[in-house]
């Protein structure tokens, strides 16, 4: 009697054991997929639906009205939307290209040019990347100040110092620059901040890429009498291509969604004649200041389209050749 009971409970235990073993991986990964369904997937589908509606959230869900592609058509004729696109592209390129042009030689110099202090230097370059964009933008707002900002003070000093005055030529007349107040200077100011915040991240990415290049290549080149410059252009750059491709992809995706820095530097307004308003800012203001939720959703899809298009163009022109050099 007692024996059958044990074997019965054993059978139940084995069955439970088998069940928990088979179910475990699904249970373990489920939290992510449940959250993703609610806060990731559903919002995307819903924003697609919303972009075809006219709706002001204050008046309640019942006032939602289907308008077809009207939001998109309206945006295509909206000068502010186009300005936000050109602003975004301007800032993305003006901050993005110098990031990589500086980061690659810098990573090379850190890896091959010096013998010590590699980590402290890298850490210093990297630090802005992990600090709050809002905090850092507020600090830069004082740096960009017209009368007393550190940047103008430094420029005025350099423009008057005998050893550097020649660099400025006729430009010295424009000092001090009203960086955040005058339309032509707002985008450069934002680009400087973005460059400063992200170049260190790229240095670290390229340092990781450099670490994968076998040392023998450099040794062989050196035996053949190659200079550091030749090594850089004939070994480092070609072998770094896959990493360049990857890092530039990250820059494209990130820079097109720029929000915190332009938002703080322009005090949330976009600046004089919207010269600093990015697409992300326009999206925010349309949705949460002007309460045009449908239009805002349409902007988010157009931004997604822009990111997708530029990424595809980048893949088309650089992706294949990037892969070829790896073979």
């Amino acid at each position: 009697m007692a024996r059958t009971q044990t074997s019965e409970s054993l059978g139940w235990r084995t069955r439970f054991d088998k069940f928990q073993r088979r179910a475990a991986p699904y249970v373990f990964v489920s939290p992510f997929f449940i959250l993703f369904a609610i806060f990731g997937l559903f919002p995307i589908v819903f924003s697609m639906y919303l972009s075809l509606q006219a709706w002001n959230p204050i008046q309640g869900l019942g006032t939602m009205r289907y308008v077809g592609l009207e939001n998109y058509i309206w945006l295509m004729e909206d000068p502010w939307f186009w300005r936000s696109i050109t602003n975004t592209l301007w800032i993305a390129f003006a901050s993005g290209i110098p990031q990589h042009v500086i980061a690659i030689p810098l990573a090379f110099a850190l890896a091959r040019g010096i013998s010590g202090f590699r980590h402290p230097l890298t850490a210093a370059y990297f630090l802005p990347y992990i600090t709050s964009a809002v905090a850092i933008s507020l600090v830069f707002q004082t740096i960009f100040g017209t009368q007393f900002g550190a940047l103008n003070q430094a420029l005025i000093y350099l423009a008057n110092a005998p050893w550097s005055a020649w660099l400025f030529g006729g430009l010295a007349e424009n000092l001090p620059v009203n960086w955040l107040g005058r339309a032509p200077y707002i985008k450069p100011a934002i680009a400087i901040l973005v460059w400063w915040q992200f170049f260190g991240f790229n240095v670290v990415l390229y340092a990781a890429g450099l670490a994968t290049i076998p040392k023998d290549y450099y040794e062989a080149a050196e035996i053949d009498g190659a200079s550091a410059r030749q090594s850089f252009f004939h070994i480092t750059l070609p072998l770094l291509r896959p990493m360049i491709f990857f890092a530039v992809t990250l820059t494209i995706i990130g820079n097109l969604q720029l929000f915190d820095q332009p938002f703080i530097l322009t005090g949330g307004t976009g600046g004089t004649s919207q010269a600093g308003m990015t697409v992300a800012m326009y999206l925010y203001r349309t949705g949460f200041e002007w309460l045009e939720m449908g239009t805002a959703a349409a902007i988010s899809w157009l931004l997604f389209l822009l990111i997708g298009t530029l990424t595809v163009i980048h893949f088309y022109f650089f992706g294949r050749s990037g892969l070829e050099s790896r073979d």
Partner: protein
Amino acid sequence: MRPPATPFKSPAADTRTGRNPVAQFVLYVVLIALALLTLFPFYWMFVLATHTQSSIFSAPPPMWFGEFLDRNYQTLIGRLPFLRNIWNSFYIALMATVTTMFFASLAGFAFAMYEFRFKRALFGLLITSLLIPPLLGIIPYYLIIQYLGWLNTPRALWVPAMASAFGIFLMRQYIASSMPRELLDAGRIDGASEFRIYWSIALPIIRPGLATLGMLTFIGQWNNFLGPLVVLNQRESYTIPVALRTLQGQIQTDWGAILTGTALAVLPLLIIFVFASKQVIEGLVAGSVKG
């Protein structure tokens, strides 16, 4: 002409210890100057946090610490419930960090250790989700939070952040490279349940990777701006970045107070970075490069 290099001399040492000491010295000067330029805004922030409005706006601007940190702090907490705002930031970041460490390592464990149906498809979906621009869902995110009645609560921010795709990916890589599969079988022979194996065998092994994930999550949540800006609209519920942003718009903008708040927002990050810069940098790079 250089004499032919002897085959056993290390050419790496050759380049590094300076064939050309002058060139190396110049390189150091350039690299250090750039590092100082990068660090200058942080220094200036701390300096200005100790000065009054009128000395901030004077020429030349102050370059050394003043005596008004306390006064600026008093102004700050007079204009905002700033301690409350710091607590909100801390609480949200902490909840997101603890839950992410748990759920991401659990899922990463499953992806690294098990073979199961739809594993490849699920992992592919996870990676794809990393590529979706967060802005795409921002309007519906607000509507969902409003529907749930979570506006102005910390939950609105940490619940959606409980399990990040980035974190799961990082943990999967870490577990796959640091935990032998035999341990799984050993645990089963001892009669441990699968969760028990994760909890008692995997977790202790992956502690360093978990610490990295924790720091990255904390930093990301602490700095988050757009999310809080959208779902928090009462002073008492603000996180630090949103609170600082409201100071900026006031007619009597007090920059000493703003920069004191800014310094307080950056300080925890600096502390984390001073102690764990290597881990933070490596974690972020591993997470993005292998993705």
